[in-house]
């Protein structure tokens, strides 16, 4: 029998490394308190954005999905409502980035993309909460809080990613 090996190339290594960091961040985030358990600001988005703009979009998608799956497996929330929250947030975020990533690079920097991704992330999570987990309009009273947090993290993440990308290319 020939030994079948799965050859990994440097791209795979990159993805693995980045995903690992993203998972680590997600785990830390998991322990942060939140008014609605499971809805998180998405600090790991820094890694995702970095990946997308340093390398390419596809790589970013991989990292993002791996993060969601691995994190939930490690914590033990795989296929639980929390998992779907996380997944929904990640997917919405990815979708928005896909739409806007090449839009007018002259007028819009990474900050904008980060803000939009952050917004999509929160909205994606909120939709799952409202439709499935807590189907009650009362939950919407918390939306302003999360929007503010999304705004702050959107800017902070954007600045950090910007810094990472420009400094690394030097």
């Amino acid at each position: 029998m020939t030994r079948s090996t799965i050859k990994t190339n440097s791209t795979d290594h990159k993805i693995a490394k980045l995903a690992a960091i993203a998972v680590a961040i997600s785990l830390v985030e998991f322990f942060l308190p939140s008014p609605i358990p499971g809805v998180k600001p998405g600090i790991a988005n820094i890694i995702i954005l970095y990946t997308i703009f340093k390398f390419d979009y596809q790589t970013g998608v991989w990292v993002s999905l791996i993060r969601v799956f691995i994190t939930s497996i490690i914590i033990g929330t795989f296929l639980s409502p929390t998992f779907f929250l996380s997944l929904s947030g990640a997917l919405c975020s990815l979708l928005i980035v896909l739409i806007f990533k090449n839009y007018n690079k002259k007028k819009f920097s990474l900050i904008s993309i980060s803000l939009l991704a952050s917004l999509a992330h929160i909205v994606g999570q909120f939709i799952v909460v409202r439709v499935w987990i807590i189907p009650h309009d009362g939950i919407l009273y918390l939306l302003p809080l999360f929007l503010i947090s999304a705004f702050i993290f959107g800017i902070v993440n954007g600045i950090i990613v910007q810094k990472l990308i420009t400094s690394k290319t030097k």
């Binding site: 904008s112 803000l115 939009l116």
Partner: protein
Amino acid sequence: MKLAGIKNLMQKILLLIKKFKSGDWLVILLFISLIFFITKYYWEFPQGQYLKIEKNNEIIGTYSLNQKNTFTIDSHMGASEIVIDNNRARFLKSPCKKQYCIHQGWIKKINQTIICLPNQISISVIGNKEQFDSINY
């Protein structure tokens, strides 16, 4: 020493902000206004009933009917007492001569109003939407 540190921080922040492009500011603006409108929409007075007390056409306050309390309002004629209890309200004491306001008794339903004309003090129960523009009496 601390001042220098703060100055440093401010400079760093300014540098960062300078990196924002024109389009970024637009996104920031839109995001902030989104937050503003959503907050405004969802954080309005929750459904419930309140007592609006007005003196000389100015709203002195809007108080929840869900409490037990007595309010003293001073006016040129003297002091009036308005009491809220058991989800209803009434004039308890008034310096006016005719005391019509006191004789009106308790009010508790939305739009019920008692006016003490000589004193220019009025109390009215308010809820959410007004269904009409004015009252004929």
